[in-house]
């Protein structure tokens, strides 16, 4: 694959800076991870560039910082993938939730909230001198915390609500495999379903990746479905425009480059 643009053209309208206080939900399945998408959200967020529908770009003057909290991936993974894209990691505050087991210990969810808010404050601190501070919060794998601690779904959702108040926009990834949500019977499955559903109702956009329905292909990594979430309704007046729903295919190359294309293209 001759080097791909960091942001696939088909995706650019969705990755442009999200409106204030919005939540974007990314869901993944076992063979199809959202990590590549998360990296592109961070890239687009830091670029301060709004991608218009006609392909043109508009620069923002605000300073954006990213706070990345990742429960299932370590910092090296993000940095390695991000460097290839050209993400400036001085602008990314990483909370190492994998190595510290954030939220799994005695501190519980209260500790998670404290840590996130601390990171958000640090990120703000840097941008304060340069004008308005915008923080994009990425919560990667928060659903794991729900499964591993057995805490109530409501508590996690309250946590999300609490930290969302302090940031410009939030990106949340969760797994949404069928075993979790198809016919929830165990406590783990029930709370997972409740969590994903609850977040989908709050989200402005839901982007779901899954494997190819028809089997494995060598030049397709999976299917990306973009839906309007239930949280999109009240924003139409602000002029952000409708979220265009679509389903397309994507391919992640060996070099980390990503192509997103329509079916049959």
């Amino acid at each position: 694959m001759p080097s791909q643009p960091p942001i696939p053209p088909l995706l650019s309208p969705y990755l442009s800076t999200a409106p204030s206080a919005s939540l974007t939900l990314l869901t993944s399945t076992l063979g199809a991870s959202t990590n590549w998408l998360v990296l592109r959200f961070i890239y687009a967020g830091l670029k301060n560039t709004s991608y218009e529908k006609d392909g043109s770009t508009k620069e923002y003057t605000e300073n954006t910082r990213v706070v990345l909290v990742s429960w299932l991936r370590d910092g090296n993974f993000w940095k390695e993938g991000g460097r290839k894209l050209g993400i400036n990691f001085q602008k990314v505050q990483i909370v190492y939730a994998l190595s510290t087991g954030l939220g799994l210990g005695a501190g519980g969810l209260a500790e998670v909230e404290t840590e996130i808010l601390k990171a958000v404050a640090t990120a703000r601190e840097v941008t304060k001198e340069n004008g308005e501070a915008r923080v994009l919060l990425v919560l990667d794998g928060l659903d794991f915390l729900l499964a591993a601690t057995g805490c109530a779904t409501l508590e996690i959702m309250e946590l999300v609500g609490a930290v969302r108040e302090h940031v410009h926009s939030t990106l949340l990834t969760s797994s949404a495999d069928l075993p979790f949500t198809q016919s929830p019977t165990t406590a783990l499955e029930i709370s997972h379903t409740a969590f994903v559903m609850g977040m989908a109702h709050q989200a402005r956009i839901i982007m779901s990746v899954r494997g190819l329905d028809t089997g494995v292909a060598r030049d397709v990594s999976g299917v990306l479905r973009i839906c309007r979430g239930a949280g999109a309704g009240d924003e139409v007046d602000e002029g952000d425009g409708e979220v265009e729903e679509r389903e397309c295919l994507y391919f992640v190359g060996a070099d980390g480059g990503v192509r997103v294309f329509e079916r049959g293209a």
Partner: protein, 397 residues
């Protein structure tokens, strides 16, 4: 845009990925850099399993591999034993969870330690050769690594030659020159094992970590501290292999092990430990699916946390005795014994790439090896040309 064109994407690895400095892996026995991106990999002890792992030609260190198995058989145990035996032979620190020392006494021995054995192994004749050809061909299919087709082809050739003589260390570290023509024999990356032989394991080379029995406590609480202690007390070049046989099996684990709040934090800290030792630690787990089916949320979480997930689905056991195969030179274990499903691959899936290659895969376990290969159904009825070799009766229409 044609369907074909997308395939061109498999270019040579970006220099960026190799620049993530790893302590020169070539110096450590049993570790070699991945042909894809240079990250250190180690052998699972099963060459055809190594070849499955997304072109890295081995299990990338810092990663875990979960082998699930349907039914009451335990083919996965063979894979674990190869993995352990390979570790023992390479002088790695091998840690086994939950089982007693008897487990370590049943590791397969090295193949063909004498000249006679070698002769015997090579006596397979044409059929054997054909099999080797398949190995080479499999390499060709993995032509994604390196600088494209030419390298892959030559590497396939070297595998072809090396694999035929099991006693010699096959497939040494990858070098620009063909391995076997070098005057100094490179350190072996993987070995061949014989299930009928027993590996002599010097006492102390395998550490057994018990699962703590008290019903109130977390049964996994001893594992991570033991592993950390071992990692901290050994020089930074010591490679560790963690082996967890039949996770959650009631024979080894108390009933409350399957509580998500016990199991998932443990796997999470294991994942964390693997990531913080990206050049020293790898892990292999097996999980019997009969008690914990893949349709449950708990198993799905286990799969999410592990880096690679393979599922073995053995064919139903045939009661009638296999008629002796008509084909000369067809060695034992030629018939596939089950299907291998690739759900997730280390490194690749995390980056966003899809699951395994598109081929249907089958495995067969024989005295000499565990073999994963492409699976195709026997010729359909009526396909006379294909059937001629197998069936004697022609069907008339």
């Amino acid at each position: 845009m044609s369907f074909r064109k997308r395939n061109i994407g498999l270019t040579s690895p970006s220099p960026l990925s190799t620049s993530t400095a790893q302590p020169s892996p070539t110096s450590t026995p049993g570790v070699r850099p991945s042909p894809l991106d240079g990250r250190p990999t180690t052998s699972t002890g099963t060459p055809s399993l190594d070849d499955l792992l997304a072109g890295h030609a081995g299990l990338a260190l810092g990663n875990s591999l979960l082998i699930e198995e349907n039914g009451t058989t335990d083919f996965a145990a063979a894979l674990l034993r190869y993995y352990a035996a390979e570790g023992v032979v390479q002088g790695h620190t091998v840690l086994v969870v939950g089982v007693g020392e008897g487990w370590g006494r049943e590791l397969p021995g090295l193949m063909g330690t004498g000249g006679k054995g070698e002769k015997e192994e090579q006596g397979g004749g044409g059929g054997d050769g054909g099999e080797k050809m398949k190995i080479a061909w499999r390499y060709e299919r993995l032509g994604e690594f390196g600088t494209g087709g030419r390298t892959a082809g030559s590497r396939g050739g070297s595998a072809l030659v090396l694999d035929i003589s099991p006693p010699t260390p096959n497939r040494g570290p990858i070098s620009p020159v063909k391995g076997q023509t070098e005057p100094t024999t490179p350190a072996a990356f993987t070995h061949s094992f014989d299930l009928t032989k027993r590996l002599t394991v010097s006492p102390g080379s395998i550490t057994y970590i018990p699962v703590s029995p008290p019903p109130s406590s977390n049964p996994f609480s001893t594992i991570i501290p033991s592993l950390t202690r071992s990692l901290n007390s050994t020089p930074p070049t010591t490679i560790h292999r963690l082996i967890i046989p039949t996770l959650l099996s009631p024979a080894l684990y108390p009933p409350h092990s399957s509580t998500p709040t016990h199991l998932l934090p443990f796997l999470h800290s294991l994942c964390s430990l693997l990531r913080s030792h990206p050049a020293r630690l790898s892990a292999m787990l097996t999980l019997p699916l009969s008690l914990h089916p893949r349709s449950t949320g708990l198993v799905r979480w286990i799969e999410h946390i592990c880096d690679g997930v393979l599922e073995l689905a053995p064919f139903p056991h045939r009661v009638e005795v296999e008629p002796p195969s008509g084909k000369a030179g067809k060695g034992e274990g030629e018939n596939p014994q089950g299907i291998v499903k690739v759900h997730k691959l280390p490194v690749l899936t995390e980056k966003g790439g899809g699951g395994g290659g598109g081929d249907d895969l089958a495995f067969s376990l024989s005295r000499r090896r565990f073999m994963v290969r492409k699976f195709s159904l026997p010729p359909v009825e009526g396909d006379q040309e294909a059937q001629r070799g197998e069936a004697k009766v022609d069907i008339e229409f």
